[in-house]
Every structure is written in C-alpha cells, then in structure tokens.
Amino acid sequence: MDFFTIFWDYRSYFLTGIQYTLLIAAIGVLCGFILGLAVALIRMSKWAVVRFIGHAWVEFLRGTPMLVQLFIIHYGLSSFGINFTPIQSGAITLSINSSAYLAEIFRAGIQGVDRGQGEAARSLGMTRGMSMRHIIIPQAIKSVLPAIGNEFITIIKESSIVSFIGVTELMFQSGAVVGITYDGMTPYLVVAVMYFILTFTFSRILGVFERKLKASDYR
C-alpha cells in the first residue's frame, strides 16, 4: 500500500502516537534540563561527598542501557510496591537519563566561562549563587546551546523505547498498524517521517533561539 493511504487510513493511530511522543519527550526535555543543571552544580560542589554522588549519578546513567533503566523503574520498582503507569515510567526514565548527558554538557559550559567573569561578579559583592545565576550560567548555556539541542533531539528519538512498556507513542502505534495491514515497511516509513518532522522543526526553533542569544555579540 502506498505511503499516503496508510497515513490517511490510520491517521488516528499516528495522531495518538505523536501526542504521546510529544508528551513524553517534552517532559524528558524539561525535567532533564532542570535536573541536569542541578546535577552539574552538584558535580562542582566544594564537598567531595556531594561531588561523588553527582559523579556516580552521571556514570551509572551513561553507562547502562536506557532500556534496562526503563525496566528497572517500571517492572523492578513495582516488585517493591512502587508502581508507575507506563507513561510515568517512560517520562521518569527519559528525564533522569538525559539529565546525565545534559549535566556533562552544562559542566563543560560552566567551566568554559572565563574565570574573570566569576571574579568580577564576586568582587562586586555577589554571592556564589548570584554569580552563578546571573553571570556564569547564562553564558554557559549560550555557549553549549548546540550541544543541548543535540541532546534534545536525542531525547525525542529515544522516547521510542518506551513503546517496550506499552506506551502508545509513535513507535508502538506503527507496530500496531503493521499488525493490522501486514505491511512491514510503510507504517515505519510514516513514523520515520513524523520523527524527522519533529526533530527538524525543533532544531529550527533552537536555531532561532540561538540567534537571539547572539544579539550581544554583534559589533
């Protein structure tokens, strides 16, 4: 069957799929961003114990497959009486997984800000926190924005693995359409295009944002 027929006949499947993909990816991006920033700061704490916790967090989440993490959170924890819905498990897994990668990106960005910036801020009487918030972090984020964009796109794509625990997002829905139509190719092509539209739109939006932040660089 041809591409557009499949897409049109099963549009309600794909529409549901894209809604869940967007929902889970959005939560993953947002929570991953906040959590990642927190982990980056934890990794630069002055206390060695706190630093170690941040380090372990990053190494564990980077060093184990996300699918394993997903199963631990969804199936593993439920045997201890902690039950999440598939969507919750998916969102949690994506958030903590991406927080590890984003933490490393943020850390690189923060450490890349010129030392003199923090010194100037502190010499004006600003506390460490004020200097981080107003001076260091805004400059750090600006310089690592392309890397953050990469990670966000990865999150959108990796959200497909939550189909394993039955979240009816794009990947799951394409499988369903394959089952109904016995066409083993076209439904996957449809979701491939849909994923691409999502990630491409997103990278355009980030591009605009990046140009806006560069306003202060023009001479």
């Binding site: 003199g116 100037a120 004006l124 009487g125 306003a215 202060s216 660089d217 001479r219």
Partner: protein, 240 residues
C-alpha cells in the same frame, strides 16, 4: 583603613608573597610597581580575598577580613576592583552591567540604580553607550565602563589591577584620566600599574615590590628621585 600584617601567599611550592606589611590610610593613593612576577597582582587580589592568603592578616576598616567566619561578600561591596581584562559581562548591556550588583546586592530599586548608573556614565563620559553591549566598545571604553560598574557599589576603596595593560596605547590616556579624576575626589586607591608617569603624578605613595616583598616605598619624589636599593634603581632605569 586597610592594614596588612605579615601576608604570605603560596601556590604549591611557589612562594609568591613573602611577608607583606602595609597600612593604607583613607584617601591615600598607593601605587604598586615592580617587575612582572614580583607578586604585585597577587598582593592586590589578596586584599579582597580573590586569592586566599596562606598566612597573615588583613584588616579593613578595623575588621579582620581573614578571620574565620567573616562574610567576605559584605567587605567586597565596599572594595571596588578593576581588572586588566575588564571582565565586563558580555551578555548584558552597559546599563545592566552597572546596575546588576546594586540591584542584586544592595537591593536598590531598578530606577534608582539606573539613575546612579547614568550619573556614573556621565563621570566616565560614556552616557551614549547606555544600551550598547561590551562587544561594541573599544578597550578604553570597556575599562571606563568597568570602573563605573565598580563605582556603582559606592565602594570605600578601589583596587586597580594593571587597568591599562591590555589597552592600545592611544586608549591609555582616557582611562588614566578617569582614575586621576577619581583620585582628586578623594577616593582611596590601590593601583598596580606599569604607567610610571601616572604613578608619579597621582600616587601619594609608591611601593616597589620585588620577589614577594615590598623592597622600598616612599613618595614619588623619593622613590623615583632617589631610590636607595640597587634593584629599584635597575628597575627604574629600565622602565623610565
């Protein structure tokens, strides 16, 4: 106003400052000169604890700032600092560079902070740069903004760390003029510089530092006119 007692600073095996004793009075302009690597900048950065002294004590307005538990942020509010590399905040406009600390640290109203900033911009002659970003300014303009930013905290003392060393020669004058103006209005200043003409003209007291100690100090007439140490003479003969 500032009392330094037996100040030492070590970076690992390097002994940068080997016992500095100094008393700076209110309204005094102290200029620190000396060969590079003599510890001038390190000494200046110790005064507001950007460098943690390894040993010794620093008092500011009768309070020991090196004592355990002392809140250095409170002290830094009263000590302005100007850096060789300007260190303006590149992501903020000129007016935001100047008003940020007054608003955040002194909890000043935005409108009041901007009023103060405009006054300071007038003093440094850059009112028209209010909404410019640092990348749009020349080196001399950047440094004048950096001075205005430090002054916006209404400090009791100003520390200058080689403020003209990163400037093109034709821009040195405009920055020195602002500093001279500041000195004439009675600001207490500690200046590390290589500008000997400026030191002679503006300084109340010149310190010659070499190898981590203050080798010699005195009025500009004494130090430039009749230096007593051979190393001071050698240094001056090279730079004058």
């Amino acid at each position: 106003m500032i009392t330094v007692k037996d100040l030492h600073k070590k970076f690992g095996p390097l002994h940068i400052l080997k016992g500095i004793d100094l008393e700076i009075k209110q309204g005094e302009v102290v200029v620190v000169i000396g060969p590079s690597g003599s510890g001038k900048s390190t000494f200046l950065r110790c005064i507001n604890l950007l460098e943690e002294p390894s040993l010794g004590e620093i008092q500011f307005e009768g309070e020991s700032i090196t004592a355990k538990g002392h809140n250095i942020n409170k002290t830094r509010e009263k000590m302005g600092m100007v850096f060789q590399q300007f260190n303006l905040f590149p992501h903020k406009s000129v007016i935001d560079n100047i008003t940020l600390a007054p608003i955040q640290v002194r909890k000043m109203d935005k409108s009041k902070a901007e009023e103060l900033a405009m006054e300071l911009l007038h003093t440094v002659g850059l009112e028209d740069k209010r909404d410019a970003y640092p990348s749009q300014l020349s080196g001399g303009q950047k440094q004048r903004i950096a001075i205005a930013r430090a002054l916006a905290m209404e400090p009791h003392v100003m520390l200058f760390d080689e403020p003209t060393s990163a400037l093109d020669p034709e821009m040195v004058g405009e920055v020195l003029d602002v500093m001279k103006n500041l000195a004439e209005r009675g600001m207490t200043m500690v200046i590390v510089t290589h500008e000997m003409g400026f030191a002679r003209e503006v300084g109340d007291r010149i310190l010659f530092m070499d190898q981590g100690v203050i080798l010699e100090q005195g009025t500009p007439q004494q130090l430039f006119g009749s230096p007593t140490h051979q190393r001071t003479k050698d240094f001056l003969s090279k730079v004058l």
